[in-house]
């Protein structure tokens, strides 16, 4: 989260030196409102990127507790094995894993927007969104081999990204989601399925991510389809 001065319902902010008060106005003791509707279950076998090339379909794992958004802390967090095969698994909607003592479920979602709102994701499941790690996976299917493309992402807060098992982007620190914030070196996408995996680490408050591929002229790549299966799984 970007640290801001959220207002506690029952307290007032203080002067300089203690200027921001911890969260969360909307949840200050009141009943939970309805979950926002920016995410919904996929309703088709395949999904195209949106008009700006953003990837809208993901499998997201319920959050795992984690702390620290510095580069070293995030790298340590994403290298830790929370559950078996976490770097290679292509899960299905509803699959469960055990991470520590918690049983966590993978959820398939399509986003209505350019970004995937993890705050909404967690809220809808009544899960925490602060000091957590979200794992997400999608399959990008290419009609032909594509060389010289780049993965371009944004996230709130830090995130690490893999394409076909190779780490290609890491952006760290307390940050907001900026379109094309982290950009990979030139990549080759295989003809057929390519696995995109990310881990987003949030300190607190708002949390989301966005991702797309850019071609050699920095234009979004749109002749892809997204599925949640590589047909071999």
């Amino acid at each position: 989260m970007i640290k801001s001065r959220n207002l506690l319902m029952s307290a007032l902010a203080l002067l300089v030196g203690s200027a921001w008060v911890e969260v969360v106005a909307a949840q200050g003791g009141a009943a939970r409102g309805p979950a926002p509707a920016t995410l919904h279950p996929p309703d088709s076998a395949q999904k195209a990127p949106d008009a700006q090339g953003f990837l809208p379909r993901w499998l997201i794992l319920e959050p795992i507790p984690a702390s620290g958004v510095t580069q070293s802390a995030v790298q340590a967090a994403v290298q830790k094995e929370y559950f078996p095969n976490q770097f290679t698994v292509i899960p299905h909607d509803g699959d469960k894993v055990t991470a520590g003592e918690a049983e966590l479920t993978w959820h398939a979602v399509d986003t209505l927007n350019y970004n995937v709102n993890l705050y909404h994701f967690a809220y809808a499941l009544n899960k925490p969104s602060s000091n957590v790690l979200f794992w997400a996976v999608t399959i990008v299917n290419c009609p032909e081999e594509m060389r010289g493309v780049r993965l371009a992402v944004g996230s709130n807060d830090a995130s690490v990204w893999w394409v076909n098992g190779q780490e290609v982007i890491g952006i760290y620190g307390d940050r907001q989601t900026v379109i094309d914030d982290g950009v990979s070196k030139k990549l080759t996408l295989k003809k057929g399925p390519n696995v995109i995996r990310c881990a987003v680490h949030n300190q607190g408050g708002a949390t989301d991510f966005c991702a797309r591929f850019l071609d050699a002229e920095d234009k979004p790549v749109k002749n892809l389809t997204l599925t949640l299966s590589d047909t071999t799984n």
């Binding site: 970007i2 001065r5 007032l12 902010a13 409102g33």
Partner: protein, 508 residues
């Protein structure tokens, strides 16, 4: 639109600008606003700061309600204040002066609330000059920045049940301003409240309607986190945030903000006021004027301010043939000339073809003198200057001593929004530029601190500067330095659109 002047032409030898004077601690400041000749600014928690001149500040502003990130606007004969505390509030007062019998806030009530998609804090107010409508933006990082319409007569929602407009995400401390028919939404990105680790920076997008959409310079919608950088950390200050517009009229605009950490003040959160510039339709954060030694050049004429004395070429005069320059001593050697022996290999200085002086022996007219010619020593050249008052004038800049000016901030002499007054002296001397009672200019042998020797330097929208005396001629209180001819400068009423009142400060 005037093109922003190249930053490289300005300030390369400057020292750091002075921060605001006095008591300047504040967080999440409101717009800086004037009331009965004083400046007021409010901050998180209540209270705020007051200044008589916009430079030296003190505590004492009063704002009840507590809460965070207030804003204030002058509407008619009273002031509307908004702040966030369990929703967004507005309230009225007839004056901001807490010592006035008319002071007192009325009608404090909630005009907007938050939900999961909007954290209802950081309200700000805009009176649209196009149609007189009053708008309020509010919101923070969780969810959207929202826009609602208020009634300027009541300060309350025109329609309490209307759906707010969503205009941005991933930011907070929004503020909307208008310029040349566009609406600009400025807002903070990055993190606050972490001292020198605060990544706060102010970004901007623009729209042709108050309701948006707001796009940045790369066409990214602020609803997708877009925003062109307006100002970030720099120098000794970290984490600017909470933009506020201070329009002083005559084309002079400033902006206020806080820095999360002023490193020269122990990392405290403080107020600042800086010039607001415009370039290619985008606002640009200017810097307050910095002390230093400069050439002062007229945008109108391209000529530079100097003392009306005979100048000497740097490195000494050089002759045309014959004896060449000053190598024979006398006046030449006193002036440090290199002595011109010129020539093309013929006997030195005896004249003859090719002995055109200026160079080392046999070097020719264009070959220079050899070696490095040092700057003029003002102690030497000024021995030829009159002892008393000397008029200034304008001339082609030739790097000469009488053309270089040192601007030094004067302490305890007051100031104007964002800056102290400066004395302007010939570099290396105490000879000071002053205004005369009849609206002309003079240089005095020594600076004595009188108001007519104190100068206000305001940066204009295109990056050039207006230069005004603290005490101008009685007949013309808005008199500014003016180039009225290629060789003459005077004081005249400032004309915002004219180049004759625009000056640039260049490396000497």
């Amino acid at each position: 639109m005037k093109i922003l002047l190249a930053a490289a032409a300005i300030l390369p030898l400057a020292l750091t600008a002075r921060a605001l004077d006095g008591q300047v601690g504040i967080h999440d400041p409101s717009t800086v606003i004037q009331c009965d000749g004083k400046y007021y600014v409010f901050g998180t928690g209540g209270g705020g700061l007051i200044s008589d001149d916009g430079w030296t500040w003190r505590g004492g502003a009063v704002r009840p309600g507590g809460g965070v990130a207030p804003d204030v606007i002058h509407l008619g004969d009273r002031y509307l204040v908004t702040y966030a505390g369990s929703g967004v509030h507005t309230m009225w007062t007839k004056t901001l002066d807490p010592n006035s019998p008319d002071f007192g806030f009325q009608d404090d009530s909630v005009v907007a609330t938050g939900d999961l998609d909007c954290n209802a804090i950081d309200p700000s107010l805009l009176l649209d000059p196009a149609d007189g409508k009053l708008w309020m933006t509010y919101g923070s990082y969780i969810g959207f920045i929202r826009l609602v319409q208020l009634d300027p007569k009541t300060g309350k929602r025109v329609d309490p049940n209307s759906t707010p407009y969503n205009i941005a995400i991933n930011c907070e401390a929004s503020e909307m301003i208008c310029h040349d028919g566009w609406y600009y939404l400025l807002a903070d990105h990055g993190s606050c409240c972490a001292g020198a680790a605060s990544g706060y920076n102010i970004r901007v997008g623009r729209a042709q309607k108050v309701t948006g959409p707001f796009f940045d310079n790369m066409g990214v919608d602020m609803l997708q986190g877009g925003g062109k950088l307006f100002v970030g950390s720099g120098g000794r200050v970290v984490g600017p945030g909470h933009f506020g517009l201070l329009d002083l009229g005559d084309g002079v605009q400033k902006f206020s903000c806080h820095y999360e950490a002023d490193l020269d003040r122990g990392g405290a959160s403080v107020l600042d006021i800086r010039p607001l510039l415009w370039k290619d339709g985008w606002p640009v954060a200017g810097d307050n004027f910095k002390e230093g030694t400069y050439e002062i050049e007229s945008v109108r004429t391209g000529t530079a301010l100097e003392l009306a004395v005979e100048g000497l070429p740097v490195g000494g005069r050089r002759g045309r043939g014959g004896a060449g320059g000053f190598g024979r001593g006398g006046l030449g050697s006193r002036l440090g000339g290199q002595g011109a022996v010129g020539g093309t290999g013929e006997t030195n200085a005896a004249g003859g073809r090719g002995a055109r002086g200026g160079g080392g022996g046999g070097r020719g007219l264009f070959a220079g003198q050899g070696g490095v010619i040092p700057p003029q020593d003002v102690a030497q050249v000024s021995t030829n200057w009159p002892a008393g008052n000397i008029d200034p004038r304008l001339a082609n800049y030739l790097d000469q001593a009488q053309q270089k000016w040192t601007l030094t901030a004067v302490t305890n002499a007051g100031g104007y929004p964002g800056s102290p007054y400066f004395k302007i002296t010939v570099a290396g001397t105490d000879r000071a530029l002053a205004a005369t009672e009849d609206g002309e200019l003079v240089t005095l042998p020594a600076f004595t601190g009188k108001p007519e020797q104190l100068w206000r330097i305001d940066q204009l929208a295109d990056g050039s500067y207006r230069i005004m005396p603290k005490a101008g001629p009685k007949s013309n209180e808005s008199a500014a330095l003016s180039a009225i001819g290629s060789s003459f400068a005077t004081l005249s009423k400032f004309e915002p659109e004219s180049d004759k009142h625009r000056w640039v400060f260049k490396a000497p």
